[in-house]
């Protein structure tokens, strides 16, 4: 794991959290979309909050795809779940929302889980990975390192 890869994982967490928050903020302006007027969802992208949210979610998706290109799914998902904690902490410190003991416990469990998986290997050799390892490119890299 290089510094760049940790940056990508951080990007997933931050962009997903910020994007979701902006979307939620924009949808508040629009009010409830009834099932009979689903076309309202198409107009939603004209709302500046929603537009900004979608741009951030595109950034999230790029980081997510990048991470999946070099790390296992079972590594990426837990490693980037700090977003839930981030939302709660922002709500607590910027909006002064109360956090109950159960929520603090939830925050602690997620943080421990993230630490647990992040301390382990990011990619495990699988059948597919094995095929890659035997390619001349990978072999030459291994010799170099």
């Amino acid at each position: 794991m290089t510094f760049r890869k940790y940056l990508v994982l951080a990007g997933i967490t931050v962009f997903a959290t910020a994007g979701d928050s902006l979307l939620a903020r924009g949808m508040k302006d629009l009010g409830r979309v009834s099932l009979h007027h689903l076309s309202g969802l198409l107009l939603a992208i004209l709302n500046p909050w929603v537009t900004a949210g979608i741009l951030l979610l595109l950034a999230f998706f790029s980081c997510y795809m990048s991470a999946l290109s070099w790390a296992d799914l079972t590594y990426v998902l837990p490693a980037t779940s700090l977003g839930y904690v981030l939302v709660a902490l922002i709500a607590h410190f910027s909006f002064h929302e109360e956090i109950s003991t159960t929520r603090w416990l939830g925050i602690a469990l997620i943080a421990v889980g993230v630490g647990f998986v992040a301390a382990g290997p990011s990619v495990t050799p699988s059948r597919h990975q094995h095929a890659l390892d035997t390619s001349p490119d990978a072999v030459s890299q291994e010799v170099k390192s």
């Binding site: 760049r4 890869k5 990508v8 099932l35 997510y64 795809m65 990048s66 999946l68 290109s69 070099w70 296992d72 799914l73 079972t74 590594y75 990426v76 998902l77 837990p78 779940s81 839930y84 709660a88 109950s100 159960t102 929520r103 416990l105 939830g106 925050i107 602690a108 469990l109 997620i110 943080a111 421990v112 889980g113 993230v114 647990f116 998986v117 301390a119 382990g120 495990t124 050799p125 699988s126 059948r127 597919h128 990975q129 890659l132």
Partner: protein, 126 residues
């Protein structure tokens, strides 16, 4: 009977987002390390190779189904039930699916991490 709808939506979300995650992960493993490819051939080569992977489009479509499942679920159930329940179940379902379909080695460390995070997500919603 009304309780059936939110849980049907949750089941749909879990099924669709797990399928989507597995398909996208499979696609990106076939593409290979995006950072390296970017340095060697440029960003257009990366985008081209990703778009040329057929399972990528399929994964995106299934993720779209999951998104509409979420909208449907939110219109029938509470935000505090649908989001954490589907997120926690998706974490566990993904670990099982990654082991079976992606042949990832989900060792004790990853199982513990997955279950801790899933439990934490549930607790944060209580």
């Amino acid at each position: 009977m009304k309780d059936v709808y939110p849980w049907a939506a949750i089941a749909l979300i879990v099924l669709a987002s797990t399928t989507g995650d597995v398909l996208l992960s499979y696609s990106m493993k076939r593409v290979g390390d995006v950072g390296e490819l970017w340095q060697r051939r440029g960003v257009l080569a990366v985008i081209g190779r990703v778009l040329k992977t057929p399972t990528f489009a399929l994964g995106l479509m299934v993720m779209g189904v999951a998104f509409y499942g979420l909208l449907f679920g939110l219109s029938w159930g509470n935000l505090s039930l649908v989001v954490p329940a589907s997120a926690a179940l998706t974490f566990v379902a993904n670990a099982v699916a990654a082991r079976i379909f992606l042949h990832e080695r989900v060792g004790r460390r990853r199982w513990v991490a997955t279950l801790l995070v899933a439990a934490g997500v549930v607790l944060m919603a209580v």
